[in-house]
């Protein structure tokens, strides 16, 4: 019987788990599917992709998760400019960011003699031809590298290979170590130098360079992106598709909500706090010192999260005496947060009166980088 020689992993096969990007197919959007009038502050809409701005520009945009994409990719992140800004001050900047924990990038061996190249691939299109910039910022060592790419009115797959960096080791921990950035708007503080396609010490003037488009140059501007993939090495392989559940689980390390997936977190809601599914609850007497409500995060979150309580229009949880006849009241002491940990939260009651109370409401927990 003939023997078949087994080839080492990576030689001739396309292996799984090679995409370092989470939610690259823009499948998961826990916070909602549309936000209008954005540009004054940094925000997340689609999970893991942050719109990062210093708020200096008067330009405004709508961001949506849009059912559009090249063959095999059903969704994309779409930006639609609603207010133009053609008077660009030196310090203005807008970029799409995908942040990384250092412990998830150890395979690139950055800062060592074995440092690896990185190959970034993604699909983009726009309303017209444009030139933007993609690059990386090493937050641990303040280093950077960037490359330009072209956008047309048709979906195109862009592939950019970035050289290895033998300077600056990334921390092997859960802190922010590196950002992938797609620069879409920048003032002279970021464009006056020559873009550096090799890793250099941080120099803002060389992060974007000249000859690039500002997405805010017209209210006609749109920008679509999906299929974002980052791989170790110099070759871009076909996009690694993951299931929705797989991507959702990865995203929940950074953002969790008690609402049903299809319900964007909001106060009030269409049918009050009890109408949005996935309700949290507890039972206890006032100020009993007992946190009878508990929610465990699965997976454990990146770090101790910021917890936001959602309830009535003021954000207060509801409570009532368990007689099955009383009306629901809302007050700030209902759903009192006691323990907030990366692994979960406890909540209880801090409402006037000593009646046995049932409390209920929603929350979000955010541990973004």
């Amino acid at each position: 019987m003939a023997l078949t020689k087994l080839r080492p992993a990576g030689q001739g096969f396309v292996n799984g788990n090679r995409n370092l990007i989470i939610n690259g197919a823009m499948q998961v959007a826990q916070r909602g599917t549309s936000l209008t009038g954005q540009g004054a502050s940094s925000i997340f809409l689609l999970d893991r992709f942050k719109m990062n701005t210093n708020g200096a520009s008067a330009g405004r945009y709508t961001i949506t998760q849009t059912a559009d994409g090249p063959s095999g990719l059903a969704n994309c992140l779409k930006l639609d400019v609603t207010t133009a800004d053609t008077s660009i001050a030196a310090g203005e900047r807008l970029f799409i960011e995908h942040p990384f924990e250092g412990q998830n990038l150890q395979s690139i061996a950055k800062g060592t003699s074995d440092a690896q190249s990185l190959t970034l691939s993604f699909y983009v299109k726009g309303n017209a031809s444009a030139t933007y910039v993609a690059g990386f910022y090493d937050n641990d060592n303040n280093r950077q590298v960037s490359k330009q790419f072209a956008v047309t009115t048709s979906w195109n797959r862009i592939t950019l290979t970035f050289p290895p960096d033998t300077t600056g080791v990334l921390g092997d921990d859960n802190a922010l170590s590196m950002q992938l950035r797609f620069y879409l708007h920048a003032g002279s503080n970021y464009t006056s130098g020559t873009i550096s396609e090799t890793w250099i010490a941080a120099d803002g003037t060389k992060s974007v360079g000249s000859g690039t488009t500002s997405i805010f140059d017209s209210t006609s501007r749109t920008f679509f992106i999906t299929g974002v993939q980052l791989e170790v090495g110099e070759t871009a392989t076909p996009f690694e598709h993951r299931s929705f559940a797989d991507e959702m689980y990865r995203c929940r390390r950074y953002f969790y909500k008690s609402f049903n997936y299809a319900t964007a977190p909001e106060n009030g809601g269409s049918t009050n706090v009890s109408g949005n599914g996935g309700l949290l609850g507890y039972c206890g007497s006032n100020n009993s010192g007992i946190y009878s409500g508990v929610l465990r995060f699965d997976p454990e979150m990146r770090t101790t999260p910021t917890v936001v309580i959602y309830g009535n229009s003021s954000g207060y949880w509801g409570h009532l005496a368990p007689t099955n006849s009383g009306s629901v009241s809302f007050s700030s002491g209902s759903g009192y947060m006691g323990n907030i940990k990366a692994s979960g939260v406890n909540f209880g009651q801090n409402v006037s009166g000593n009646t046995l109370l049932i409390g209920f409401g929603h929350l979000t927990a955010e541990a973004e980088l």
Binding site: T303, I309, I340
Partner: protein, 63 residues
Amino acid sequence: MNTFTNVKWHTDFEGNNIAYKCTKNGQPEVHIPLEPKNSDYINLKAQIDAGDITVGAADAIVS
């Protein structure tokens, strides 16, 4: 830059400070833990240390 208003201490039932409670970018009922790796804590603490934000006393625990 995030905007934090009405920033107060948030205590557990034993009176220990465990978080800041505030309104963030217009969103009320935000609990920010005292965790140096939490990005909201980093942002808020910088504004507190710079003297731009004063932290108020925690709401009383009802007895």
